[in-house]
């Protein structure tokens, strides 16, 4: 099949970039028209992505690579390039699709904000960078876009800059993810000097690592893999760098949907998938990925149980689901991870947008102040419910299929990982049930006036919800145990299907149990709040404080660093600058001494001169004997 669209893939990021440029240049003058510019750009990108994906659906298209020389320093050549493979085309579609929907949604959601054009500019820049990240054909280009998406995330988290919380969250997001970024940077440096021909592109990585040739020693490979994984940990909010992601919910909700649920946070997973050849060459690295993923999955799910902010619950859910993806990767299944990424993008975006719809209606994020909204906002409630079911892994919603794939992969690797996954699934269902029932069922608990004013969201917001709900329902069918289309399309190999009864029963059972318990606690007697939690208040406090991870970091890193800063500052002032001043003063003091000697007494002068002469002669003469 001819390649027609793939070679123009680089236009995909260019559209939103142009939109960003226009929005930035025109500034606020553009007003709400800017929103449409950005939306149009994302539509164009989506269409192009769709064409590229369709072109590749046949499965026969060659991978297409295009690159330019980005920088040359003598013998060192660094390229910027893009590559179109099945995986990238899939990611292109996901990203552009969610971006398009979020753009649409935001037109409604942000319409009253005076900085709406700035918002859309940022979103456009984000879309561009994310597409660049997806398309990148080498690690350096990927890294550049990787950082850019981080910055956009930072900008959007801090979009409501007047709020001190938003400021703190933005800062935290940037700095914490940067820790991971530096790992990735070091990995790139290591690869650069150790790869043959200093190649950084994925094709060469595949060739070197896949062939099991001993170009790089085992320990080096492990080190590189772990450093790359560090990058992924930071971006994808894995333990122990997960702390930024829940705080990032200070940003506008569409952003949470786009960046902190569907696309950017998944970039970590995508990175590991793209460099999976390196991981496969190192068992230790894979094990680390699996363990971190599994731990994060259950850890975040547990925390999610006790959060009262609707978006924070979803954020912890995201962390937990990303942990699932990592778990799948650690278990060696890129297909399961990608699949879960794919479905998660839809249902989590859906959940966030629906939550946004709620927040938009009653202007609070605290679920304790909600309740009974199902009656006022039918579409929102229904779509949210679909998303929740998908997330909980109830068949036939998409989440079921992908979670199933992940758990199956985990079972292949180790029963322990599987067990952790199942328990996490239970908690997932539990907190989603809690969330759903507390928000949409029961009697309104919060401000009655706000409840009365709560109205249906406009069509521009609900249409995306519906579209996403449909996808959340259906997207799972691209890869079922009977038809492993996605996996084979991605890997280019036919994969053997097969259903594992244990996995299905365990996961569905756990999820149903979770939902039931959730209904038991929150659905049936919703008016009285959350009685179950009251019983275990000690545990609850720990959960509400998120296992005191933030406090621990404050104690372990932030304060010592601040103390070190103050200490060094004092050192700089007292010792370094002090030495300078001392030198200056001593010269001045010498001058003063000299001045003091000039007391006006001519005879003292003469005596001084005579002493000098004697000393001089002694020195010159003494030199001969010395």
């Amino acid at each position: 099949m001819d390649i027609t669209f793939a070679q123009y893939a680089w236009f995909a990021p260019l559209f939103p970039l142009a939109a960003f440029a226009i929005l930035t240049a025109m500034g606020r003058g553009l007003g709400r028209a800017g929103a449409w510019v950005a939306t149009a750009a994302s539509l164009l990108s989506f269409l192009l992505s769709l064409l590229i994906a369709i072109e590749r659906l046949g499965g026969t298209a060659e991978d297409y690579t295009g690159r330019i020389e980005w920088l040359r320093a003598g013998s060192i050549m660094l390229h910027a390039g893009y590559e179109v493979t099945n995986l990238t085309s899939l990611m292109l579609v996901i990203v552009t699709f969610v971006a398009l929907l979020v753009n649409l949604y935001s037109i409604g959601y942000m319409k009253d904000d005076e900085r709406i054009s700035v918002f859309f500019g940022y979103v456009a820049l984000f879309t561009a960078s994310m597409l660049g990240l997806v398309l990148a054909d080498n690690l350096l280009t990927l890294y550049i876009c990787w950082e850019l998406v981080g910055v956009c995330s930072f900008l959007l988290i801090g979009f409501w800059f007047r709020k001190p919380e938003a400021r703190a969250a933005a800062k935290k997001a940037f700095i914490v993810t940067r820790i991971g970024d530096l790992g990735l940077l070091l990995a790139i440096l290591l690869l650069y000097w150790n790869m043959p021909n200093h190649a950084l592109d994925f094709t060469s990585l595949y060739n070197v690592f896949h062939s099991q040739s001993d170009t790089l020693s085992a320990s080096l490979t492990t080190l590189i893999a772990l450093l790359i994984f560090l990058g992924a940990v930071g971006k994808s909010g894995q333990f122990p760098l997960h702390v930024w992601l829940p705080d990032a919910m200070e940003g506008p909700t569409p952003i949470s949907a786009l960046i902190h649920a569907a696309t950017m946070v998944a970039a970590g997973v995508y990175l590991v998938v793209r460099t999976f050849d390196i991981f496969e060459a190192s068992q230790a690295a894979l094990a680390a990925v699996a363990i971190v993923g599994a731990f994060t999955a259950i850890f975040a799910a547990v925390i999610g149980l006790a959060q009262n902010d609707i978006k924070r619950v979803l954020a912890y859910s995201t962390v937990s689901q990303l942990g699932y993806m990592m778990l799948a990767l650690g278990a060696g299944s890129t297909a399961a991870a990608t699949f879960h990424l794919f479905t998660h993008a839809f249902f989590k975006a859906l959940l966030f947008l629906a939550a946004g719809s709620v927040i938009h209606a009653i202007h609070t994020q605290d679920i304790r102040e909600m309740g009974g909204l199902g009656r006022r906002m039918k579409i929102t409630a229904w779509t949210f419910g679909i998303g929740a079911l998908a997330l909980s892994g109830i068949p036939p919603f998409s989440g079921f299929w992908s979670k199933d794939a992940v758990l199956a992969a985990a079972l292949d690797e180790s029963p322990w990982l599987f067990a952790v996954g199942v328990v996490a699934a239970f908690f997932t269902a539990l907190y989603m049930a809690r969330l759903f029932f507390l928000v949409f069922f029961g009697a309104p608990r919060g401000d009655a006036k706000a409840y009365a004013h709560a109205k249906k969201s406009p069509a521009v917001m609900t249409v995306p919800l519906v579209i996403l709900a449909v996808l959340a329902l259906l997207a799972g069918f691209v890869e079922t145990p009977w038809n492993e289309w996605l996996g084979s399309w991605l890997s280019g190999e036919e994969e053997e299907g097969g259903i594992n009864g244990l996995v299905v029963i365990a996961s569905v059972g756990a999820s149903l149990l979770g939902l039931y318990l959730g209904w038991l606690f929150y659905g049936r007697r919703s008016s009285s709040g959350n009685p179950a939690a009251e019983k275990a208040s000690g545990l609850r406090r720990i959960l509400e404080r998120k296992f005191y991870v933030d406090e621990l970091y404050e104690l372990a890193f932030v304060r010592p660093l601040a103390a070190l800063g103050r200490g060094l500052d004092a050192f700089d002032r007292v010792v370094v600058d002090g030495a300078v001043r001392l030198a200056g003063r001593s010269v001045q003091a010498a001058g003063k001494l000299n001045t003091r000697l000039l007391n006006g007494q001519i005879q003292a002068y003469a005596l001084c001169a005579l002493l000098g002469a004697v000393l001089l002669i002694l020195a010159i003469a003494g030199r001969r004997f010395w």
Binding site: W70, Y192, A579, G584
Partner: protein, 536 residues
């Protein structure tokens, strides 16, 4: 066309002409004076751009070279040389100018930053005539430093930057300006003393050459960079022979360490950095733009041009030391920047941190590192110029730049805040902006030989994120104190340089080949020397 005229000299001395014209204008015609000054600042920039366009990177560099015998000082031959047939014995200080891939980026940087600073000089509120005269004089010095190809000429230009700078700091600065000016003078004077001693040692040994002509032997000491380079590389030259001109290893080391200290003060290398804190904090914004944007780079340039090219063996042995110093600079500066409450001091320490990266690049001894060092110099020049431009703008409006006093400025000065954020992001090495490229190349270069140092140095990037965000966000984000509610955003004259500098930063970040292509082949000779040292 450019080859036919002494373009480098015109470039260098145009601002001087501007100085003279400015001095002749009546004091009261402020607008006229300002216009003249700005014109004479932009003209060299245009020339520099023309130079860039027509510059062809060739092996060896030295394009557009100009050479005039300036001083040919006769030395007495009676104590024996006359008997040995020397017909002429001279000390030559030539007027030599040249440009290569190492100096051209810095010349362009000078043009860009100086032009923007000239526009930013709207912040100057008194004694315009003297200000602009000195400002232009300073430019001549800076261009000269980057273009001179004779050690003495270089030194003269180097010192020529000192005097106007002393005035500019001392007259138009803030409260502690005089102390800052004194510090500047004594510290930099000290640096130039070290440098001159090293230069003289080199001239008196490696600068010696004897040429046989029909009329007899001509002996000469020359400060010419090319002559020194050729002599040092030539095993048969007197400097490498057992003669009175022999440059022993001890002497080489002396010269090298002197140069490191001399340029280290300028750069500045820890612990010689305290002087520049004062300058950053006390001088007027356009002056700091020049200072932080260009003058610090003279240290990097000198270290490369003279430390590396003339004494590669020493550089090679000392690479670990330099790399360690660089890492210390990076981390030390970054941590201290995190602890500051005054934004200007944050920027000052951040400069220290960034200049550490330049050191890393130099210590890496490969092309990536060298180009990274130059790139980082240029990029930091642009970024810090931009940041200080913003500092000036904010200081004019809010009358403070303390980060614990400011807050929420993005509501009242959104444009400035946006630029500030961009500059901050560039400063913390965000890809897509110029700061990243220099850092990446330097780290890349050094990683080959000292991966562990890079691993530590990378921490600096993390701290960079901390201090940039901490200061920028607490100034622009958050609630707005009432007393700043009436502040208005920038005027056009301020916005123009801000936009221009931002555009340059983005341009270099997106397509660094614009600059790296210029530098190709400039380091070939040095690399060859370094390699031969490894082989032999």
């Amino acid at each position: 066309m450019l080859e036919d005229i002494p373009v480098l000299s015109i470039l260098t001395f145009l601002p001087l002409l501007g100085t003279l014209i400015t001095l002749l204008l009546p004091q009261s015609r402020v607008r006229f004076i300002r216009g003249t000054a700005i014109a004479f600042t932009f003209l060299p920039l245009l020339l520099a751009i023309a130079l860039y366009v027509s510059y062809e990177p060739i092996v060896g560099g030295g394009a557009f070279a100009e050479k005039l015998t300036w001083l040919s000082i006769p030395l007495n031959t009676e104590a024996g040389l006359a008997d040995k047939g020397a017909t002429s014995y001279r000390l030559l200080f030539d007027y030599r100018m040249g440009v290569d891939g190492l100096s051209l980026p810095l010349v362009l940087l000078t043009g860009a930053v100086a032009s923007m600073a000239s526009l930013a000089s709207v912040y100057i509120r008194k004694r315009w005539k003297l200000y602009y005269a000195l400002f232009l004089l300073l430019q001549t010095g800076m261009y000269g430093v980057f273009l001179a190809r004779d050690l003495t000429l270089f030194f003269i230009f180097f010192e020529l930057t000192l005097i106007p700078m002393f005035f500019l700091i001392g007259i138009w600065g803030y409260f502690g300006r005089e102390q800052a000016a004194n510090r500047f003078l004594v510290y930099n004077g000290l640096g130039s003393a070290f440098m001159l001693l090293a230069f003289l040692i080199l001239i008196a040994t490696a600068g010696f050459s004897a040429t046989e002509t029909a009329s007899g032997t001509t002996l000469s000491f020359s400060g010419s960079y090319e002559v020194l380079l050729a002599n040092l590389a030539d095993p048969n030259a007197a400097v490498n022979q057992d003669s009175i001109m022999y440059l022993s290893d001890n002497l080489k080391w002396t010269a090298f360490i002197l140069l490191v200290i001399a340029f280290g003060i300028k750069l500045p290398i820890f612990p010689f950095h305290t002087w520049m804190l004062k300058v950053h904090a006390e001088a007027a914004p356009p002056v700091v733009m020049i200072h932080s944007g260009i003058l610090l780079k003279m240290g990097a340039y000198g270290l490369l041009r003279f430390g590396a090219f003339l004494l590669p063996g020493q550089l090679q042995s000392w690479a670990p030391v330099l790399a360690t110093l660089g890492v210390i600079n990076i981390v030390y500066g970054a941590i201290l920047a995190c602890a500051q409450k005054e934004f200007k001091l944050v920027l000052a320490y951040s400069s220290i941190s960034h200049m550490g990266i330049v050191l890393l690049g130099i210590a890496s001894l490969n092309e990536a590192g060298f180009e990274g060092a130059v790139f980082q110099s240029v990029s930091h020049g642009l970024i810090s110029a931009l940041l200080f431009l913003i500092v000036g703008s904010l200081h004019e409006r809010a009358e403070t730049t303390r980060i614990d006093e400011l807050g929420g400025l993005a509501s009242v000065v959104p444009f400035t805040s946006g630029i500030l954020l961009t500059a901050g992001l560039a400063s913390l090495g965000l890809p897509g902006l110029s700061g990243f490229v220099g850092e990446f190349l330097s780290f890349l270069g050094l990683f080959d030989s000292y991966p562990w140092l890079v691993a530590v140095g990378v921490l600096g990037l993390l701290f960079a994120a901390v201090y940039v965000l901490r200061s920028v966000l607490s100034m622009t984000y958050g609630p707005l104190p009432d007393r700043f509610a009436a502040i208005r955003d920038v005027r056009f004259v301020e916005a123009l340089p801000m936009i221009a500098l931002t555009a340059l930063i983005v341009l270099l970040g997106v397509y660094p080949a614009l600059m790296t292509d210029m530098m190709s082949h400039s380091f070939d000779g040095l690399l060859k020397l370094l390699q031969s040292k490894v082989g032999g």
